[in-house]
């Protein structure tokens, strides 16, 4: 792979968080009964007129400005014509030669290096319906609830040079959209979708290689895996001296390969033309400035601030600011317990694993900043050990009650009293004669092992520092 260079451009489709569809008043709610959220406009019945949803338009402008784009002077919509059962009007209202915004960029950080990925264009369009195929019967079922849901298409320049960079770009884009509160970017529910263009060329070669278009990647991992697979496939073809054909390929998640969908010869001819049912749109400079000023602090800026203000490392700051809810949680906790590093460790460690396991965001749990602050305070004042804190953490998530309350009701407390610890330590020393010999021979690890044994016998309640001191004294004093 070293002799070859990978060139990737990504095309993301993002569902905007509006209540109603982009050109009619049907609800955008996910998971409604089939076809229950449709009307003459989104079903494309004769004689109806689309009217643009103001919020969808504003969200699109807001996003474009956050992506450092320029806003088109005169924004118009076009019809993209094709025949497919998921498209009741036989055309999709989209934007062709005058996209809402163009020439932007976002900054990503990958392998400790900053890089600008340019954004070619951002445009607003309507989603198509959903088809469910019934295998073997030659039938499909159509649900038009998704038809007319507002989508923002965000197209990058081919500035991405590895699958990992592609995933970092997508992650950054997702963070920005979530900070703006314009989309929930849920890849599983399809509110963030991604297609890719990828080609390879011998390193140093000026012109681009023949590209493949990849579709059907439904997670960050799938994007990375599909791009890696496709890059390798291209390099192998080139090594064998074979010609790469321009084609569209589908990622097969189960087989972990890309498969041919259509070749360039079959590529659609969409016969775009201006949408006569929608008037043009403009945003004046004053309005653009007003929206720019109202943009929230974005992930990269917040990351810089976290590093400067709280003395966090780049990595910690990156993990915390990737998710807006987590970054807010962090700052709320700091107001109550002034130790950024400790809070960061808990958020990116045990708390992150619980959230991962339960597939939930922190805002949707009963765990609050006050709980974390109190938990850290209990450790700080040595009322409980870190180990005990970890053990009661899931219960705080489950019940949303204060850590103090749990500690009290369970009768948990740290054992610091030397007398109370003496009998446990006696037992441990009696049962582990070999470790005592090891320690005397100079094996420091033996001490760590013995401390661990005491912790186990006390179910994590012993103060490890005190146990360590007592053990050391006993061992060095001739045991």
């Amino acid at each position: 792979m070293k002799d070859y260079e990978i060139v990737i451009g990504l095309e993301a489709h993002v569902q905007l968080l509006t209540e109603s569809k982009v050109f009619c008043g049907c609800s955008t709610k996910f998971g409604l009964a089939p076809n229950s959220s449709t009307c003459p406009v989104c079903l494309g019945l004769p004689g109806v007129l689309p009217v643009l949803n103001e919020k969808a338009f504003l969200y699109a402008i807001k996003t474009a400005l956050a992506l450092n784009c320029r806003i088109q002077d005169i924004i118009k919509f076009d019809r993209k014509n094709y025949y497919y059962p998921d498209l009741p009007k036989n055309f999709q209202i989209s934007q062709y030669d005058k996209p809402l915004a163009y020439s932007g960029y976002i900054e990503i950080e990958h392998n400790n290096a900053k890089k600008k990925i340019r954004i070619t264009r951002v445009h607003l369009e309507e989603d198509a319906g959903k088809l469910i195929h019934e295998p073997g019967k030659g039938l499909s079922y159509v649900d038009f609830n998704r038809t007319g849901i507002p989508l923002l298409e965000i197209v990058s320049e081919p500035d991405i040079s590895s699958p990992e960079e592609g995933s970092a770009y997508l992650q950054e884009l997702k963070s920005i959209l979530q900070y703006l509160k314009v989309s929930d970017c849920n890849m599983e529910e399809g509110s963030l979708r991604c297609d890719a263009n990828i080609s390879v060329r011998p390193r140093g070669e000026g012109s681009l290689g023949v590209k493949a278009e990849l579709k059907n990647m439904n997670s960050f991992k799938a994007v990375r895996d599909a791009l890696s697979y496709e890059a390798k496939r291209h390099v192998e073809l080139l090594r064998k001296g074979e010609r790469i054909v321009q084609e569209t390929r589908l990622w097969n998640e189960r087989k972990q390969i890309t498969e041919l969908m259509r070749t360039k010869e079959e590529t659609h001819d969409y016969r775009y033309f201006p949408e006569p049912d929608l008037v043009p749109f403009t945003v004046d400079k004053k309005e653009i400035d007003r929206i720019k000023r109202s943009l929230p602090e974005l992930p990269q800026a917040k990351k810089k601030r976290f590093i400067a203000l709280y003395g966090l490392g780049k990595y910690d700051a990156g993990v915390l600011t990737r998710d807006m809810e987590i970054s807010n949680f962090f700052e709320e906790t700091i107001k109550l317990f002034d130790n950024p590093k400790k809070i960061a460790n808990w958020l990116s460690g045990d708390i992150a694993s619980i959230l991962n396991e339960r597939k939930i965001t922190i805002g949707r749990t009963r765990f609050k900043p006050a709980h974390l602050a109190e938990l850290l305070d209990l450790i700080h004042t040595e009322e409980i050990t870190g180990k005990m804190a970890k053990e009661i953490l899931p219960e705080i998530f489950d019940r949303g009650i204060s850590p103090k309350e749990i500690v009290r009701s369970k009768g948990l407390k740290q054992i610091k009293d030397a007398g109370e610890l003496a009998s446990v330590i006696d037992d441990v020393l009696r049962e582990n004669k070999k470790s005592i010999d090891d320690y005397k021979k100079g094996k420091v690890n033996a001490l760590i092992f013995l401390v661990g044994q005491v912790m186990r016998k006390t179910k994590g309640q012993a103060n490890p520092k005190i146990v360590n001191e007592i053990l050391k004294k006993r061992l060095e004093g001739g045991g």
């Binding site: 009307c39 039938l139 403009t282």
Partner: protein
């Protein structure tokens, strides 16, 4: 600059294909002649001097920024939605499977 554009048979077949229409050889010839005629007629517009005219995408020159508020309105009833459907099942439209 008037340009004489003709539609050849290949173009007729291409457009018919995009519209999922099967044409006989005779029909292709007929439409080729008719479409060329229509295009020639429209081409008259190219004789106009548009040097000082801005491109227009919409006939309502002064109308712009027409929005609706983002509020949910009642959708059609499930019954009405499927009323004209030739085939349906469990609230879905039923169609022949199309593999792209």
């Amino acid at each position: 600059m008037p340009n004489k554009k003709t539609i050849d048979e290949k173009t007729v077949k291409h457009v018919a294909g995009l519209s999922r229409i099967n044409l006989s050889g005779k029909e292709v010839k007929l439409y080729q002649r008719q479409l060329t005629g229509i295009l020639g007629y429209i081409n008259k517009l190219n004789e106009l001097d548009t040097k000082d005219t801005l491109p227009t995408s919409h006939p309502l020159g002064n109308l712009k920024n027409v929005f609706r508020k983002d509020s949910v309105r009642k959708s059609l009833s499930a019954e009405d939605v499927l009323k004209n459907a030739p085939a349906k099942k469990d609230g879905f439209f039923k169609v022949p499977k199309i593999i792209e």
